[in-house]
């Protein structure tokens, strides 16, 4: 479904991605792990075309989306992203946050978008908060709304950028539950995360990144129990605590 080949990206003199390749098939959950600054977020932003790659190709289905002639809005309608800092629209209520994309970008009717928003909010346990404004919600609630906002676009691929990193441990669980649900429904997900036990539980495949490169990838059991690269082993040892 998604294929990235030798993606490079620099910010000024700093090369963040040094030729990263990645493949994701339909229904697969891929977790990106690695230290902060290893390029996980930048890779996700490149996949969603929020950052322009300096070199390399990204293919979505049979379309090369790194082609500058492509309709980026159409690509983004199919590839949703959720950010670490939620980034909800503070001037809009929860419900308005959710229906903005479906109505304006997908051209859905207000009624259809509205009723799906309420269904999705109900599923993440926020049925009563449709009229609330983001700042009145806890971090965990905001992040669940952000997830719903992305899912309401009915994307084929969902990118999650360390979406629990800004939450305290009590609130992480409620967000992870939503991801478990999505996985059960067959959503294709690429997520950057620091939650190792969770990655091990939900991932079909794990990519360990360091210094702008994919060092090692494989099924969670193999990668966690028998890492091939010494850098992977060192990172995992540190994260087991």
């Amino acid at each position: 479904m998604l294929r990235a080949e030798s993606v490079r990206k620099s910010f000024g003199a700093h090369e963040v991605l040094k030729g990263v390749s990645l493949q994701v098939s339909e229904g697969e959950v891929v977790c990106l792990i690695g230290a902060s600054g290893s390029g996980k977020s930048t890779l996700l932003r490149c996949l969603n075309l929020l950052e322009q790659v300096d070199d390399g190709d990204i293919w979505f289905d049979d379309r090369e989306i790194t082609d500058p002639r492509i309709d980026v809005d159409d690509v983004r309608r199919q590839i949703g992203i959720v950010f670490q800092a939620y980034n909800l629209f503070p001037h809009l209520s929860v419900e308005q946050n959710i229906v903005l994309g479906p109505v304006r970008s997908r051209g859905e009717s207000r009624e259809a978008a509205h009723s799906r928003a309420l269904t999705l909010l109900d599923r993440v346990g926020l049925a009563g908060r449709a009229g609330a404004y983001p700042d009145a919600l806890s971090g965990g609630q905001q992040q669940r709304v952000a997830l719903v906002r992305a899912i309401a676009m009915q994307p084929r691929l969902l990118l999650l950028d360390e979406i629990t990193s800004a939450l305290d441990p009590m609130l992480i669980g409620e967000v992870l539950d939503v991801i478990r649900d999505l996985r059960r429904e067959g959503m294709t997900i690429v997520m950057a995360t620091h939650e190792m036990p969770f990655a091990r539980e939900v991932a079909d495949r794990i990519l360990f990144m360091a210094d702008g490169q994919v060092v090692e990838s494989g099924p969670p059991e193999q990668l966690f129990t028998a890492p091939r690269d010494p850098r992977t082993a060192e990172f995992l040892a540190r994260h087991r605590g």
């Binding site: 969603n48 983004r76 997908r106």
Partner: protein, 277 residues
């Protein structure tokens, strides 16, 4: 549930303290204001000043004329405000859009804000009010009302555009990213995500500019529009006193107060909404 004895005691104390503070505020206000009034009334020239500036008979005589003329100020203000907003939003957006194709228009927009922000409004009023009709071109407006509106729009459009631009630039880039990530186009993100937040942020300085605009409608008296200040001027020529000006000033003050309270109301409402209070 009945509050505990301690809680009742705390509330009694708080009420008591609030009453005390209220009393202090009232007394100190009376002392300061009373002192000022006393000082002014005691001054040797006060009878003359009262006669010239605060003559009740003169005020009564000029009031209907000033009131009628002030309606023109209001109309000028309301019409100019609409045009100013249109010009300002357009110019602000042109200046922030990163489209290379727009480069010549962006340059024009920059020159426009630089020139009209730097030129005294009264000069713009002269230039438009006397210059445009002097061109003698067919199709250009000759009505003083519209010339006045154009002059105010040109001058204030530049100010308000800069205020709005600052507002747009102050919205965090992650808001752009979230909007675009939902597949919204640049224009849609601007319209539904960025502009509403920008306008809310700059509402107080924006309203400040509009209060100033309300007063600057008086500048149009210089090109011959018979608005409140002009009527006061004529009256002053008749009575050899300034009560007419004071009456006109009172109209301007009274007209700006609702605008100021409206700003306060908007600010409080959006704060309340977004903070869920």
């Amino acid at each position: 549930m009945t509050p505990s004895e301690r809680q009742l005691e705390r509330e009694r104390y708080r009420r008591h303290r609030a009453r005390n503070r209220g009393a202090v505020a009232v007394v100190s206000t009376l002392v300061v204001l009373g002192g000022l009034v006393f000082l002014v009334a005691q001054s040797p020239g006060w009878p003359r000043v009262r006669e010239t500036y605060f003559n009740v008979g003169d005020a009564r005589a000029v009031l209907p004329d000033v009131a009628k003329a002030f309606w023109l100020n209001i109309r000028l203000f309301l019409v100019a405000e609409v045009f100013i907003l249109v010009v300002a939003v357009t110019v602000a957006i042109i200046r922030v859009v990163p489209a290379p194709a727009l480069a010549p228009i962006k340059l024009l927009a920059t020159i426009y804000t630089d020139v009209f922000r730097g030129t005294p409004t009264i000069l713009v009023v002269f230039l438009i009010g006397f210059g445009v009709p002097a061109l003698g071109l067919a199709g250009l407006p000759t009505s003083l009302f519209w010339l006045g509106v154009i002059a105010l729009t040109l001058s204030y459009g530049a100010y308000v555009a800069e205020v709005l631009r600052a507002g747009i630039l102050s919205v965090h880039p992650t808001q752009w990213a979230s909007g675009r990530a939902l597949g919204l186009s640049y224009g849609q993100t601007m319209r539904h995500v960025i502009l509403p937040q920008a306008v809310r942020r700059v509402a107080p300085p924006l309203l400040n500019d509009f209060v100033s605009l309300q007063k600057d409608t008086a500048l149009l008296s210089t090109i011959g529009l018979v608005e409140a200040l002009r009527v006061a001027q004529v009256d002053s020529g008749r009575t050899f006193a300034f009560t007419g000006y004071v009456v006109a000033a009172a109209f301007f003050i009274v007209a700006t107060i609702p605008l100021a309270r409206f700003t306060d109301y908007l600010t409080v409402r959006s704060l309340r909404r977004e903070n869920g209070i």
